[in-house]
């Protein structure tokens, strides 16, 4: 095909402008695919925060608020659930397992979660993956703590280290439970969920560190030491929320309704999958805006190419006339222009993809540690390939504009060279 080799040589002759055009397309491709990867990953890691749990139960508020504080450790519960209510629901025949959650304390900005050993047995994330230990094991002693991967990484904690919990959930707390230090007995493997940023202790431990507190503040002149606390009755009076697994999914809605109409206290049971979806729909606006912006950037890149091609067309009328005189047909000149645009778009896409992988390789550890997103460096997904096909289609369409003009010129100018 003589036209294709002419395209390449002609482009090479104008390599500086061609390279800049290519670069702008490459950068916009990188941006679009990068945004797309972050989006997909954010969505899936979000949706995979909690799986295998049939109901999340808390004090009556909104479903999203309940989801935020119980699963994402964001914000606070408006109210607690009494231990009696929890026991009554947990003992119902359709309930296979339940995990109580008690929130409210923190450690150096990380939330402290009071729970029991069942948490490590029943909690599932991602594709129903259980929690796994990188080091150590589940807490057994009253003052044992199990920390998430991010807590360990950021605070450089190792097994056996002693930590002090702070009262309240703020990043800076003025009241420390310094009299009752904890030992780290387990470090969980990274999950990419809020669990990585959680310090887990037993429910009894939560009771123990608050045994000399009343209404959320220490009782003056009424100190109980760590050892004294061990011998006291540490059954919790209230918890923040609990997760429920059922024997049969069929019972989910019935139990949900039963809990929502529970007469003893106002409770709320939610289906985590539905609530996660609702929450994503709410915060997904930003993500869609990001996609819109990166699509716009791509359009700008293509428009830039159109500008360059159209601007060069005028100086190239001579070239077109010469080609006509040596026997090029008008459709071959059309093809010359279109293949030039396609060439730029395709090379831009290839460069863009290369750049994307380079950026991913470099930025991956940072993104993972900062945002808990594990961006894949795998092959292009079908969705991404679709985007690239769309891009190529756009490039072809855009190339058709100067190509059409070249075609018209070549018919109108013939072989006479007009400058």
């Amino acid at each position: 095909m003589p036209i294709f080799s002419l395209t390449i040589k002609s482009l090479w002759n104008r390599r500086y402008t061609a390279f800049l055009t290519l670069l702008s397309i490459a950068l916009s491709v990188t941006l679009l695919l990068g945004v797309e990867r972050v989006r997909t990953e954010a969505r899936s890691s979000f949706a995979n925060t909690l799986s295998g749990t049939d109901l999340v139960v808390g004090a009556r508020s909104g479903p999203i608020q309940l989801l935020l504080y119980s699963v994402f450790r964001i914000g606070n519960a408006t109210n607690n659930i009494s231990w009696q209510s929890y026991r009554e629901i947990a003992d119902r025949p359709e309930v296979a397992w339940s995990v109580p959650l008690s929130l409210g304390d923190s450690h150096k900005g990380f939330r402290v979660l009071g729970t029991n050993q069942d948490y490590f047995k029943h909690y599932r994330y991602g594709n129903k993956q259980p929690l796994a230990f990188a080091e150590g094991a589940v807490f057994t002693d009253l003052y044992d703590a199990v920390i998430g991967a991010e807590v360990a990484r950021k605070l450089h904690y190792r097994l056996g280290q002693e930590i002090v919990l702070a009262h309240g959930a703020g990043a800076v707390s003025f009241v420390q439970h310094a009299d009752k230090p904890f030992h780290i007995v387990g470090i969980l493997k990274r999950t990419g969920t809020p669990i990585d940023q959680t310090v887990h202790v037993s429910l009894q431990a939560i009771e123990a560190i608050h045994v000399d507190y009343r209404d959320g503040a220490p009782l003056p002149g009424h100190h109980i030491s760590a050892e004294q606390a061990r011998s006291m009755d540490l059954e919790p009076k209230a918890i923040t929320a609990f997760l429920v697994g059922l024997h049969s999914k069929v019972a989910t809605f019935r139990l949900q309704r039963w809990i929502n109409e529970y007469p003893e206290e106002p409770l709320l049971a939610i289906l985590p999958g539905v609530a996660l979806q609702e929450l994503w729909d709410m915060i997904g606006v930003g993500e869609r805006a990001l996609l819109a912006v990166s699509t716009m950037v791509l359009l700008v890149g293509l428009t830039g190419m159109l500008t360059v091609l159209l601007a060069s067309l005028n100086e190239r009328r001579r070239e077109l006339a010469i080609l006509r005189s040596v026997g090029a047909r008008p459709w071959q000149l059309f093809l010359l222009m279109v293949s030039e645009a396609s060439c730029l778009t395709a090379l831009g896409a290839v460069f863009g993809i290369g750049l994307l992988y380079l950026v991913l390789l470099i930025a991956r550890p940072f993104i993972e540690s900062q945002f808990g997103l594990q961006l894949g460096v795998g092959m292009l997904t079908p969705h991404e390939l679709n985007l690239l096909v769309l891009l190529m289609g756009g490039g072809l369409l855009i190339g058709a504009i100067p190509a059409w003009r070249a075609y018209r010129y070549s018919l109108a100018d013939g072989m006479s060279i007009r400058v």
């Binding site: 040589k9 070239e319 090029a328």
Partner: protein, 235 residues
Amino acid sequence: MSSSETIVAIKDLEFRWVPDGLPVLAFEHLHITRGERVFIKGASGSGKSTLLSLLGGVITPQRGSVEVLGESLHTLGGAGRDRFRADHIGFVFQMFNLLPYLSTIDNVILPCRFSRRRRERALSRDANLETAALRLLDHLDLADPAALARPVTELSVGQQQRVAVARALIGAPELVVADEPTSALDWDRREAFLQLLERECEEQGITLIFVSHDPSLEPLFDRTVALAELNRNCH
């Protein structure tokens, strides 16, 4: 075949660029026979370029017929005329004849990329297209390897025009049409250039149509056609 001796036959021609404008060209007939070297003289604006476009079949007249090599161009259709032009006619223009991004050799063999006939004719004489191009360039005193290695944009105007002649001649088309190819050359170079061009055309039996406004070149040709007179004849 009597038509084999006739290279160009134009009859009752009328051509207008705009439908209700004045005709740019209007004459009864123009006849050119094989092997002739015809000088078509005309000031700028007299319709020289239009005549060349008609001969090349890039445009077709509103009235009359243009026959080249016995083919009536308007019956060929657009694609047929493109092919006919590529196969049978070589062009040399005033200046800037070459594609800046191709080497000298590639510029010369360009017509062979678009016309199978000219490729085959070139290959019937030389082993490959490069040899054919080099032979032609050598005949035109352009075989200096140092000059050939340079980008075509760095060649002198005279060298560029000779490359253009080599391109028009490769694959031995029946007709070479030159549009003011000497106007960018120095005076003393013009004659040498024309002699080279004529010698090559004669050697290969190619008919040459040379268009210029410069009457001083007239004596170098077999015959002169003054476009102004031709046009007037029809009135």
